[in-house]
């Protein structure tokens, strides 16, 4: 299963699961990155990291290693 880091820009995908240590994944879940939610990478910062993602109609900045913890399905 690909991670959010591996899908291309502008591709809408659904979150399958969030991995990682408990406090880390709880933060992401509480920001609305729940399984089933649609998410899209909209931009990459000029220095290559972090990514800008669209979720629930808002924009968030998320680091690459954090995006690698989010498994998605197309």
């Amino acid at each position: 299963m690909p991670t959010l880091l591996e899908v291309g820009q502008r591709v809408a995908v659904a979150i399958e699961a969030v991995d990682g240590e408990r406090g880390f994944r709880r933060r992401l879940l509480e920001l609305g990155l729940c399984p089933g939610t649609t998410v899209r990478v909209t931009n990459v910062a000029p220095l290559g990291d972090p990514l800008e993602i669209e979720v629930r109609g808002g924009r968030l900045s998320i680091r690459r290693d954090e995006a690698a913890q989010i498994r998605v399905r197309r």
């Binding site: 406090g23 880390f24 879940l29």
Partner: protein
Amino acid sequence: MTATRHIALLGNPNTGKTSVWNGLTGGNAKVGNYPGVTVDRRAAPLRGHPDLELVDVPGAYSLVARSADEQIALDVALGLNGQPAPAAVVVCVDATQLARSLYILVQLQELGVRCVVALTMADEAGPAAPDAGALAAELGCPVVPVVGRTGVGLTALRQAVVAAAAITTAEPARWRWTPSPALAAKLATVRAAFPTSWPASDGLALWALQCVGDDELAAVPPAVRDAVVAAAPDAAVDDEAVLGRYRWLDDRIAVLMKTAVDRRRTERIDRVLLHRGLGLVIFAAVMFVLFMTLFAWSDPAITFIEDRFAWLGQQVRDVLPDGLLEDFLVNGVIDGVGAVIVFLPQIVLLFFLLGLLEDFGYLARVAYLMDRIMRTMGLSGRAFVPMLSGFACAVPAVMATRTMERQRDRILTMMVIPLMTCSARLPVYTLVIAALFPSQTFGGLSTKGLLMVAMYAFSVVTALAAAWVLARVVKPLKAKRLPFVIELPPYRAPRLRDVGRMMLAKTWSFLREAGTVILACTIALWALLYFPRDTPAGAPDYAALAAAAPDDEARAAVEHARDAALLEHSYGAQLGKAIEPAIAPLGFDWKIGVGIIGAFAAREVFVSTLGVIHGVGDDEGSLRQRLTDERGPDGAVVYTPLVGLSLMVFFALACQCMSTLGVIKRETGGYRWPLFLLGYMTALAWVASFLVFQVGRLLGF
């Protein structure tokens, strides 16, 4: 007169909470600090209702906390740990971000907290905006749409708050999901261990199950900790709670949004401001303006203030006879107040610009653009602006760390900002370079210019290295494995009134809390260098010599000699002599030691103190000559270029600035961090200067 009751104001960041705060209160805000954390506590009476006090809570997405600063939201909402229990909580809910901004409200309702929703950004949501009545019916609490820009809805919001505060019956806990039997059993175990001061609610038991574990919460009783450990909560608890809440929000609330929110304007602006090339150019230009404002453009105001205080001092000198009172007023009180006021131009300008950039939405983009660089030293992109400001002055830069979300990041940034080459170090470097280094060129560039550039580069490298080391060695500064997700809010026109009020509040809290510390230190330092005001035994009769002087020049020379003798005999100079064995291995004599002590008032004071102790008054040209010509008893040059280099390294690394220490004491709410800063920087400076001087000597310089 009824007793004051409290209303808390909560909400996600970027939901227009500041506008709501300004709309609900009528000035007279009391700004303090929550105990033990680097978070401002603002409280002010509700406009027209002096018996209701509104308490501001820093923006938060959730009540779940791992550190003491995050726990404030819960403490204020429930009235725990010394906070007064609120009669109601106003929750700012962004109409363009309904589900995410209502998440914290769902948590509050599980805890049985009485809520009033201020529905902000309804104008921005436009046709997508949800119907307030339908939203209120789903949430079971009042919903008042407000437009901060125009003030529409604020009166209705105040009325709703007053009505909610008047309800005397207990608010029932509302759960939007049903815990599984396994979770319900865990909740019961934890709840049974609560102290009597905690409400015995399942909501609080769930909070403990989610927060206790790998945390730094100070106020959780051991019995509760043991019960949580016994209940063995795991990720399944989080899934159940968080996903249960969002499922309800998605099913019942998200459908109230009439269409998708139009974000095209923000997207268009982002295409330019976050562009790979143009975006970075604009970023550099904005940072240049910010930096020049602090570094150069605030100079006329600073000079004006310095001139006014110098004028005031002269007036006092003219009126009062020479003596203790005159010197105390001029060099203690007036200089001390001046030393505080002189920071105001930079603080006012920096917070005005920061307020504009934050409200517009650009500060979050700065963090996004710079995160890659700042994370290499264990910080986030939010640390960039405070660090950059440190090149001008550490005092406003330390205050700017309030724009960072996490306490650990704020403190780590504060601990390295004073290493940046601030403008007060420049007069010291200029003097040392001009007096002690020969004019040579090196590859077509002057050595003096290269040295100055090298000192800047040195400060950046040491600041980055110090952050890297501190983040690994000092326990409270260790990085947590938490996501660095930040919101990139829509671009919004800044409101000058909100920016202005924030700027004034910052300035006032600096004057009241840091200013008093700085003034007290200036007076203490004055006393150290003034008393006992004796000339050594066997000194010539300076008064007679001055009277006999043939011209002004000769009289000035006598006065300079007298001032040098008085200073040399002061407690401060005795201290300088006492520490000479400690600073001799760095290449410093006791005169430099006195200069270093005087420089605690402000680094540039090193130059004038050195001038007085060398008997040349405040003429910098004579001081340079004097330093170049100074010979020891054996006829050797005292101040060699190697001593100069060692001295510059010392000034680059030592925390020679009580104003920085004063402002860090104010921002961290205690003496622990400023003392740590003073200790580690002094040790670092001593070791580095020692190495420079001793290695340099071995190499034959």
